[in-house]
């Protein structure tokens, strides 16, 4: 298993600003992902955070809006840029183990006003 922490746990931001979310894992993992979850909805994959190279984004998500860093195998950041109210959501960091189980961080609840 893996223990994942995320900071901040929640934030209220003004439109047009940016927020950087941090994800820290207690062990080295190869595969790290960022998801978004609207209230009452399923999880949508934003991107795969690749260590040492650019993140791989899913359809509908772009680097300019959601820049991701992955400086090492235990840490990643997701920035939500130039925020609008539509970006209000829960953002979750996740890692996959060698047995293909995925573990999630506690999430960051973002409200954009």
């Amino acid at each position: 298993s893996a223990v994942i922490s995320q900071k901040p746990s929640r934030d209220i931001c003004q439109r047009g600003t940016s927020l950087t979310i941090q994800c820290q894992v207690d062990s080295q993992v190869t595969m790290m992902f960022w998801y978004r979850q609207q209230p009452g909805q399923s999880l949508t994959l934003i991107a795969t955070a690749n260590q040492g190279s650019e993140a791989t984004y899913e359809s509908g998500f772009v680097i300019d809006k959601f820049p991701i860093s992955r400086p090492n195998l235990t840490f990643s950041t997701l920035t939500v840029s130039n925020m609008s109210p539509e970006d209000s959501s829960i953002y979750l960091c996740s890692v996959r183990t060698v047995s293909y189980e995925q573990y999630f961080g506690p999430g960051t609840r973002l409200t954009v006003t």
């Binding site: 992902f33 909805q41 399923s42 994959l45 791989t56 979750l92 189980e101 995925q102």
Partner: protein, 110 residues
């Protein structure tokens, strides 16, 4: 991309009743995973099924993978209030990325 339908969307049961959620894929799957998300919490891995027709049990939870490996079910016997939450199935996609089902929200009342 792959479609993952889950039914029902929502179920409300009284404590002690059974509950089942179904997950259906449009394609044959190599494996399927199940997750539980408590209200206000994050998804928690429950189990992975790999073999055709596989049945696995975790206390009151029974997981089944269809013979054709296109569907799966999660059955809870004698629900308790601690079972409240949303249950998601998840299937592997390209580069082993998971696609999550639409989820079934379970409400249990006394």
């Amino acid at each position: 991309g792959q479609q993952v339908m889950q039914i029902p969307q929502y179920q409300h049961v009284q404590e002690g009743e059974d509950f089942t959620t179904y997950c259906n894929s449009s394609t044959t799957l190599s494996n399927i995973q199940w997750y539980k998300q408590r209200p206000g919490g994050h998804p928690v891995f429950l189990i992975q099924l790999v073999k055709s027709g596989e049945v696995k049990k975790q206390k009151r939870l029974t997981f089944q993978f269809g013979e054709a490996k296109k569907n799966s079910s999660l059955h809870i016997t004698a629900t308790q209030t601690t079972d409240v939450g949303t249950y998601f199935c998840a299937i592997p996609g390209t580069a082993s990325k998971l696609t999550f089902g639409t989820g079934t929200r379970l409400q249990v009342t006394l």
